[in-house]
């Protein structure tokens, strides 16, 4: 029983990082109706900038976090300008494949600059875990959960209570009409993209500081986990992204404990597959209707 609860707690904590990854992903998807495969690799680039700062200049965790988030946002803007901005209308598959090509490029760039397989990453906290009855709570995990909930609220607020959010929602509704009422669609989309990558950067920093290392494989990991959590939670839904991440985390934690890492990964994909077949809208998303392969109606 203690194991069960402890695993659930750990799952919720790890799941909050999946939720954060999904949050950035779903923001990009919501605005662009396009899948950005380079999402994880952009975060990985941020991580590499962070580790350089840490290893070469001995920067503290906060400075590393700042540069990592900035690095991820800049990499995100690069991806948007090259893969998405030139083909805003139609050509959804082309954007996706193009973002895959840039993924390969970013990964190679990271390996070129730092050729060793793993690099150290600063831990956020080094204290002993908090004890709460028979259960253990890691401080960095709690920060992760706090960030996930805080950022979800912030995004929700920004989308529904600010002028920029209003502009984004107008673009989501109809980009041509948004353009006609004077919204600078190109800039707004680029900023949304940068914000999404920055959220990914926060998630990436939290995960890497728990792992205390960064490898080139982190890009693929982040893309896949974000994608699974986003689809389980419901495509385009912001609270759904967090819920999907938490569910994924809890399922993974239990499967890891009882059956080992292979079954853990298998279970994640089974949950995703079953959700897509039975309830493709996910936990909180709307039922699928729009098709990324089809051009958006002008």
């Amino acid at each position: 029983m203690i194991d069960l609860v402890q695993n659930t707690i750990d799952g919720v904590m790890i799941g909050s990082s999946y939720g954060l990854l999904a949050l950035g992903f779903t923001l990009i998807f919501g605005v662009m109706r396009r899948l950005n495969l380079s999402y994880g690799p952009s975060i990985m680039i941020g991580g590499y900038v962070g580790t350089v700062l840490y290893v070469q200049y001995g920067a503290g965790p906060l400075a590393v976090a700042g540069t990592m988030i900035l690095g991820a946002a800049i990499a995100g803007i690069y991806v948007e300008r090259l893969c998405f901005a030139p083909m805003r209308m139609g050509a959804g598959i082309a954007s996706m494949v193009s973002s895959f090509a840039i993924w390969m490029q970013l990964e190679q760039a990271a390996i070129l600059v730092l050729p060793r397989h793993t690099y150290p990453f600063p831990p956020l906290t080094t204290g002993a875990p908090l004890e709460w009855g028979p259960f253990l709570l890691r401080l960095d995990h709690l920060i992760m959960l706090g960030c996930a909930l805080g950022l979800t609220a912030a995004i929700q607020f920004a989308l529904y209570r600010t002028r920029f959010g209003l502009a984004l929602r107008a673009i989501i509704g109809n980009p041509v009409a948004a353009h006609l009422v004077g919204i600078n669609v190109s800039v707004a989309v680029m900023l949304a993209f940068a914000a999404a990558s920055a959220i990914g950067g926060v998630a990436g920093f939290l995960v890497l500081s728990v792992d205390q290392q960064v490898t080139p494989m982190f890009g693929m990991w982040a893309t896949l986990k974000g994608l699974i959590a986003m689809m389980i939670g419901g495509l385009g839904s912001i609270p759904g992204a967090i819920l999907g991440g938490l569910l994924l985390g809890v399922v993974e934690a239990h499967c890891q404990w009882y059956f080992g890492p292979q079954i853990r990964d298998l279970a994640a994909y089974i949950v995703l597959f079953v959700f897509l077949l039975v309830h493709p809208g996910g936990l909180l998303g709307r039922a699928p209707g729009s098709d990324i392969a089809a051009p958006r109606t002008p």
């Binding site: 050509a91 959804g92 490029q105 190679q108 070129l112 994608l227 495509l235 995703l272 077949l277 699928p288």
Partner: protein, 313 residues
Amino acid sequence: MDDYLIGVLSNIGVISFIALSAYVLLLTGEISFGQQAFFAIGAYAAGIATALWGWPLAAAIVWGAAIGAGSAILVGVPTLRLHGLYFAIATLAFAEMVRILFELLRYQVLIDGEWVGPNGADGFRNIRYIFENDISSLQFMILIYAVLVATLSMFLLLERSRLGVIFRMIGEDETLAGLQGISVARHKVLAAGIGGALAGIGGGLYAHLTTYIEPRSFDVMLGVHSLAYGLIGGLGTAFGPLLGVLIDIGLLEAIRALAGYRMIIFGGLVAILLIIRPRGLLDEKLVHKIGRMWRLILPRGGRVKLGPSGEKI
């Protein structure tokens, strides 16, 4: 020919099959991230058939293709109700499930005092058919290309047939195709089955080419690459995905001097190419233009006219 060139060319030939397999689904407007699953299934099925059951190679390849097609149809029936991204992610989930299941698959038989067969994550060693039967690597390369040419000719016939027209029509506008009385679901499942068979053939050849397969080789990277080939090469003709493979593997091998920078150059080139030509180098317009020029040279008898729903008139 030196061994290196044979190796590269054999690789191009084998990968062409999985590129074609992703291309069939692209024709019907569906993106699959999961064709590597059927490639893996074909590879394991054919490898088990020759190494463990002592089947001849031809039978094993056909078996791999059949299993590939069968599993693609089984997965296609429930997943093809989904569209676009939902279908793409469902195929991705399926392919990763298959990969992990192969990591758990242990099926070994004692042959000549040695355990042979899939051994979980350690892979499946000693698929020694081509050594045991004294097939040189050059001969095997010729075999790969013979199968590829045969497949490709069938494929080109298919593209010119009523079925090919229906596939493209579904890809253009599913609703309209449905209104014309075409069973969209059935044709998509058929396309998935053809794709599964193609990937299965490729997988069977791959297993015998490398003599060693492991689940790790069939990861998402392979799937996304095979999808990208069609888009780089062009969606206008079956030569498109082949051109994509040729550009990727051929060009990258050619510029080995740039070792550390090759993905940087290649990734950038692909991104720029897709801005200029979002449907690839050999896109429908270019293929149509080439076809028109071709028909100007050829006598009138060589033309095939198509009626509104694709029948010959």
